[in-house]
Amino acid sequence: MSFHDAKATLPAGANPLAATASSVAELSKPKVKAKARPAKAMIDRYHWYEVAALYAGIAVFLFFVLSPFIEGFLVSLKPLAQLFSTPYSFIPKTWSFDAYVNMWTSVPALGMHIFNSFFISSVVTLIVVAIVVPAAYSFARFNFGGQALLLGMFLAVNMFSGAVLLIPLFRLMRSLGLLNTYFAMIVPGAAFLIPSSIWLLRTYMMRIPRELDEAAWVDGASRLYTLRRVILPLAMPGIVVVAIMTFIGAYAQQFIFALTFNSKTEFMPLPVGLFAFFGKQEVIWNELMAASFVGILPVMIVIIFLQRYLVAGLTAGAVKQ
């Protein structure tokens, strides 16, 4: 019987509050407590000092990782003279965003460099995704001769850093007449990023139940139709991870390819283009830092955009595990 029923049965004129006051107090006590502390599983409950320690740990870790960025950002705000003052002060005494304005005039091609970086990485990402998706599907689902050998070779390729192969690649590019083109900076970059992505996406696709392929096959779908309508949508989080990793990887590795295979200013990506801030006498550090930060911006935008597709648990309800 509920509390309200009990009240209704009391004779008229009687004070229901007096009769039930103690029980109300008893009832409401645990309720208030439950409200104060949201319902959490025992395993997720921490004391305040444990929470504090967790956040302190995170703060230390974050500071360790981010301190170069913090210092870089502070440098970009300081006037150049202050950078060489002794004692050195980390906190700018006077600060301004002048460097962010002036950098465009001291290096006129800066916008082109940023575009080149973004363009090269985007094309590399498109190429890699277009090649990796069908490759990963075939490695995940088909049995063919030399499969293990091929996968092993992909892994072996990954163990070479691009730098080791620079000289042979340079000779190749020169004899093909491809030096000083976008092609020279895009294709080797894509080639180095494909093997690891195949491994990653193959593992992801192997976790998609094989019964889905079989069900589609029984229903008359071809392998390509199954890939397009069933596997691709389900592998989307994995593909997005590959795309993000490839984009970042392409952004990071383009320096070495651009430095070796390209000498034309108009094709230079940002990491090489930043050398323009190195003058004959002095380095314009504050503008260099400002340009670096502006150069990172497109990458961050792309990642934030792609992250929305990283939906976990997309396969829920496909099969009963």
Binding site: E211, E214, V218, A221, T315, A316, G317, A318, K320
Partner: protein, 358 residues
């Protein structure tokens, strides 16, 4: 003419022979259940019929045509998988419509067929949901819906109920039987659960180690098992087996020495069993309290009271487990000796090779 026939069908994976020459005829509209312990090859056999596994030797014929090398869709079959295999990113509607989309049917026709399937399966209110939002029984119905819309000649079910809980399973069992009645199509159903086999099948195919042990109607298998394997597999609790030795067989009756349990005389015309080690089988539900035509003195070590039944477990002097199942709630206590008997007509006899002796 039979709808489906298997002719000396064989399947090997590398060296391992999984299916060892199976001959089977399935008539139009029949509900056939493949049953057997795990690893007996029943799922492989179904997948071969479906076209998901290659045939090593022999033929599969559907409607008089050899289909060994045809893809599933050209065989006119549809399959429901144990794990449902629903497409989680599509709505229930699109899941059911998937085979029709593959066929590129016009939208009006798709609407009509999906609507009809949803009506049969009571999924009309669920069409816009995702599989993840459905209960196990509903997911199973979606999987069946996807099979229905193609209007196949033969439905294949691979343990479709084994992922459901007990209550839902018996509910879905009845739904499937009603569906079979309504559609009238041939259904082949794989299960390891002999209760599903007994309740649903027109014809049960008992498989053991890649071979057919026996084919027959549920009651045939229950009353006249061909061999020890079928006798032990069909029926729950399991049939009791007592080892004995034939003392004499004169063409009219067989006298069997059961050791310390006594001597059992059965009316059998076979004389070949004379002197053989044989197995005597008696179902737990054929035991009665007190004296029967043959009586055993038993001391149960565990007694289960189920209300409708009481089950007594014990061990015979020869070491064989022995189970008695009695109606209602008789007073049986563990550790207390009692007499139970059975009728001679209920006894099964198997020779040294495990084959039934009549």
């Amino acid at each position: 003419m039979s709808q489906l026939s298997l002719k000396r069908l064989e399947k090997s994976f590398n060296e391992a022979r999984i299916i060892k020459g199976i001959d089977l005829e399935v008539a139009d509209g029949e509900f056939v259940v493949f049953v057997g312990p795990s690893g007996c090859g029943k799922s492989t056999l179904l997948r071969m019929i479906a076209g998901l596994e290659d045939v090593t030797a022999g033929d599969i014929e559907i409607a008089g045509k050899v289909v060994n090398d045809l893809p599933p869709v050209q065989r006119g079959i549809a399959m429901v998988f144990q794990s449902y295999a629903l497409y989680p990113h599509m709505s229930v509607y699109e899941n059911i419509a998937f085979p029709l989309r593959v066929e590129k049917l016009p939208q009006a026709e798709v609407d009509k067929r999906v609507g009809a399937a949803a009506k049969v399966l009571q999924l009309e209110s669920r069409l816009q949901h995702r599989p993840g939002q459905l209960s196990g029984g509903q997911r199973q119905r979606v999987a069946i819906g996807r099979a229905i819309v193609r209007q196949p000649k033969i439905f294949l079910f691979d343990e479709p109920l084994s992922n459901l809980d007990a209550a839902l399973r018996s509910e879905m069992r009845i739904e499937l039987m009603e569906l079979h009645k309504r559609l009238g199509s041939t259904m082949i159903y794989v299960t390891h659960d002999q209760i599903e086999a007994m309740t649903m099948a027109d014809k049960i195919v008992v498989l053991n180690a890649g071979e057919i042990s026996q084919v027959g109607s549920p009651l045939e298998l229950y009353h006249k098992p061909d061999n020890l394997f079928v006798a032990g597999f069909i029926g729950s609790p399991k049939m009791n087996f007592i080892n004995g030795k034939v003392r004499s067989a004169d063409g009219a009756k067989v006298t069997i020495d059961l050791g310390s349990l006594g001597t059992l005389v059965l009316p059998r015309t076979s004389t070949a069993v004379a002197g053989q080690d044989v197995t005597v089988g008696i179902r737990p539900e054929h035991m009665q309290l007190g004296n029967g035509e043959f009586t055993l003195a038993i001391t149960p070590n565990i007694v289960e009271h189920l209300g409708i039944h009481t089950i007594a477990y014990s061990t015979l002097p020869g070491g064989e487990a022995f189970i008695g199942l009695f109606e209602g709630n008789p007073t049986i206590e563990d550790g207390k000796a009692l007499d139970m008997g059975f009728d001679i007509a209920d006894v099964h006899l198997f020779d040294a090779k495990g084959l039934a002796v009549y």
